[in-house]
């Protein structure tokens, strides 16, 4: 190596952001992205480890040192292409992956300073390539004549489609909504993931030859049996997500102005209710908003309510800050935007006015007891400790369950006790020719884990389609 090494900075190059005071009144993206100079400087911090732990930390094993080196050398489009060899949605992952618990957590630089800003650089490379029209389509393998149906155009389905189309199979995605993207469209807000970026990533798949049929609810308009029958598919991948909102079952939860996070975010993100009445879908705009839950979806809901004009937005979470499942960055951004965290409390009851709209929430204060099954300390009610908050909008963000629309209509598809599809590491279900992955297998998780499941399934489907068509059942390895 070179004799005189320049002093390596211990901290990462900061990424410019919209000022909190400005951004709470718009839906534009919060982090503004690196300039080419900033990206090169940050990428140059990478030690180019011989045994890169970061790659092991990535669910889809992106060649991280490889693309960081290309950025450091100013070869930005090549960097994007390097990522796309294993990840067909880099502009999305660069924005919404929990890098701090994956690639960046394993980065050696993190031992004596801050880890390389892998997520920011992934985003930079993908944005640079797209904005400068440098996207090159990889060559497809020779046509195999096999047809694969992908159910759900979310992260898992898009990944399966992206991988299998390159391997020469015909791929059709069936999507229930009128826009592809799944949770990327309906769940994650514009200010965290601009929808035109999702559209461009989907467009890339279309250009590769993936066919997307919108407004098709598999299990309703077409069954899985028909996909194999008259529709003529050789394999089916199910990636329908965990689209069943959970409620707490406390009194008053069906008052007007009490939403599931699914509904609130779908109205705002997919239907663009924030631009009502230019867009036709209305949404309740609260002055005093309570969001129940402590995950990323709760943060997204709270920050959306803030942008829709709320004066006070409270996060009601039953455990303490340490147990909050939201990403550190999301919590940080929420705090910057003045979201008020009411920890160790849970709603007991909502009361409404004569019009049936929610007006108050009565809360129970909690304290932490012994650890529960999840290893986190169980919240227990503090006897007699209650308080009341005035509220005119409540968003229940306590997770979701398995939506039965498809699974109920599909025979021979093994489900676990909670209604999720049973699948092994390769995504194989109990039904021959059917794979599944993403939240409908694992329960609510992350975009990148769904993509990882999609990758594994695509590989296995390819082997199945190119082999003798025999599915070897190995129920012992199925994840329950």
């Amino acid at each position: 190596m070179s004799e005189k090494k320049p002093e390596r900075r211990k901290t990462r190059v900061p990424m410019p952001e919209q000022d909190p005071g400005v951004r709470i009144s718009n839906f534009k993206e919060v982090p503004l992205g690196y300039t080419p100079e900033q990206a090169r400087e940050e990428a140059g911090r990478c030690l180019q480890c011989k045994k890169p732990f970061c790659v092991e930390g990535c669910p889809v094993n992106v060649d991280i040192p490889g693309f960081l080196r290309l950025i450091a050398e100013g070869r930005f489009a090549e960097a994007a292409q390097r990522i796309k060899a294993t990840n067909c949605l880099p502009a999305v992952c660069g924005r919404v992956c929990p890098q701090e618990t994956q690639c960046e957590e394993r980065c050696v630089l993190g031992k004596k300073g801050e880890p390389a800003a892998i997520g920011r650089l992934e985003r930079f490379a993908a944005d640079f390539e797209r904005e400068n029209n440098l996207i090159r389509l990889p060559t497809r393998a020779d046509a195999t004549g096999k047809k694969v149906a992908v159910v759900g155009a979310g992260p898992a389905g898009l990944t399966v489609a992206g991988d299998l189309i390159l391997l020469g199979h015909e791929v059709t995605i069936f999507e229930a909504f009128h826009k592809p993207g799944g949770v990327l469209m309906y769940g994650i807000p514009e200010f965290r993931l601009p929808k035109d970026i999702v559209e461009k990533e989907v467009e890339y798949l279309r250009r590769l030859g993936v066919v997307i049929e919108l407004n098709q609810v598999i299990g309703k308009s077409i069954t899985v049996d028909e996909l194999f029958g008259e529709e003529g598919f050789d394999a089916v991948f199910i990636g329908v997500g965990a689209g069943l909102p959970r409620f707490m079952g406390v009194p008053g939860e069906n008052l007007g102005g009490v939403y599931s996070a699914n509904e609130y975010l779908t109205r705002s993100n997919l239907m663009k209710a924030y631009a009502f009445p230019e867009y036709g879908t209305p949404i309740v705009r609260g002055r005093n908003v309570c969001v129940v839950g402590g995950g990323n979806v709760a943060m997204d809901s709270a920050r959306t309510a803030r942008r829709l004009g709320a004066e006070n937005v409270y996060i009601l979470y039953r455990r303490s800050r340490e147990e909050m499942p939201a990403r550190a960055e999301e919590i940080h951004h929420a705090e910057q935007e003045g979201i008020i965290f009411k920890l160790l409390c849970a709603p007991l009851e909502y009361t409404g006015d004569e019009r049936g709209m929610v007006r108050q929430v009565r809360c129970q204060e909690m304290e932490l007891g012994e650890p529960d099954d999840s290893g986190r300390r169980r919240p227990v009610p503090k006897p007699g400790a209650e308080f009341v908050l005035e509220t005119d909008l409540v968003i229940v963000a306590i997770g979701s369950g398995a939506n039965p629309v498809l699974t109920k209509q599909t025979k021979d598809l093994g489900l676990n006790r909670r209604g999720y599809i049973i699948a092994n590491e390769a995504g194989r279900t109990t039904r021959a020719g059917v794979w599944a992955g993403g939240d409908i297998v694992t329960g609510s998780a992350t975009v990148i884990l769904a993509m990882g499941a999609g990758k594994a399934a695509a590989k296995d489907i390819h082997g199945y389609l190119c082999g003798d068509g025999q599915v070897v059942q190995s129920p012992g390895s199925f994840r329950q």
């Binding site: 407004n215 609810v217 909102p245 939403y259 239907m271 036709g280 019009r355």
Partner: protein, 282 residues
């Protein structure tokens, strides 16, 4: 898919569309609904499937103009295509042969009632239909409903056709005149207040009463929970568990207030839409 093959104005502000939808027509059953969008910016609107033709691959939808979204839909012409059409959604009607069934249709509710009445008629049940409307000019599909009914009663609020009064009056008389309990079931489909009144009317007689709820919805597949309804304290999703429910179990007050969540915003939106429409046409 979604192309409008035929459009007819059945009555003032009530339109029938015959829409090309082979996949939906193949699966459609009485009681099913679809979700439609007029254009990319529109709301998703649930509409009950009023008829279907599996051979021709079409479904019929009947739409009453009540706000911006329905007005946008009503502006679509023959040959144009719905931006989105999704279905069939919900659970179909549970139709079993029985002695007598009373079908109560209020206003635009005639459309969803028709295929259910036809199914009972085809099974050999005696079908008595009560078709109610504000006034004579708003009645539609009287011929169709008559063709699948052994007895057909019309009521209007102003007496301009049939009996003057509400649908609950002949309904009560039919039940009172049925000591042998031949009436196995009553269907009541129409505005929520009318369905509520019918359920209250039949409750003392202990006759099963099925209603088809028209709640607010977004996705229509059980994903958002916006359509939730309480049945004796149990929460159900209209889109996935319904849209038909036992009318005696429905918490009507909660349903009616949930239907009004957006009434102010809907009014603003409609005023704006009408204003813009006028500007464009001046």
């Amino acid at each position: 898919m979604g192309k409008i093959l035929h459009k007819a104005e059945l009555a003032a502000k009530i339109f029938e569309y015959v829409v090309e939808a082979p996949r939906i027509a193949r699966k459609a059953q009485p009681g099913h609904f679809v979700v439609v969008m007029a254009n990319e910016r529109s709301e998703r609107v649930p509409l009950t499937i009023a008829d279907f033709d599996r051979q021709r691959g079409t479904i019929s939808l009947v739409l009453m103009v009540v706000g911006t979204s329905t007005m946008q839909l009503s502006a679509l012409k023959e040959g144009e295509t719905l931006y989105a059409l999704i279905g069939p959604l919900g659970r179909p009607s549970e139709i079993e042969a029985c002695d007598t069934v009373v079908m109560v249709a209020g206003g635009v509710g005639t459309a969803p009632v028709y295929p259910i009445a036809r199914a009972y008629f085809d099974l050999g049940s005696r079908v008595i239909s009560i078709q109610g409307s504000r006034t004579k000019d708003l009645l539609f599909w009287t011929d169709r409903l008559t063709s699948v009914s052994h007895q057909h009663i019309i009521t209007t609020d102003d007496g301009s056709a049939g009996r003057k009064g509400l649908v609950t009056e002949p309904l009560r008389e039919l039940l009172q005149a049925d000591p042998a309990h031949r009436i196995a079931c009553v269907y009541a489909i129409g505005p929520a207040v009318m369905m509520k009144a019918c359920a209250k009317c039949t409750e003392p007689f202990g006759v099963k009463t099925v209603v088809s709820l028209n709640t607010v919805m977004v996705d229509g597949t059980g994903m958002c929970g916006g359509c939730r309804v309480e049945l004796r304290g149990q929460t159900r999703f209209t889109c996935a568990d319904g849209p038909e429910f036992d009318g005696h179990l429905v918490d009507w007050e909660k349903l009616l207030s949930r239907q009004k969540i957006y009434s102010q915003q809907e009014k603003c939106s409609l005023d704006r839409y009408v204003e813009q429409w006028k500007e464009r046409h001046e």
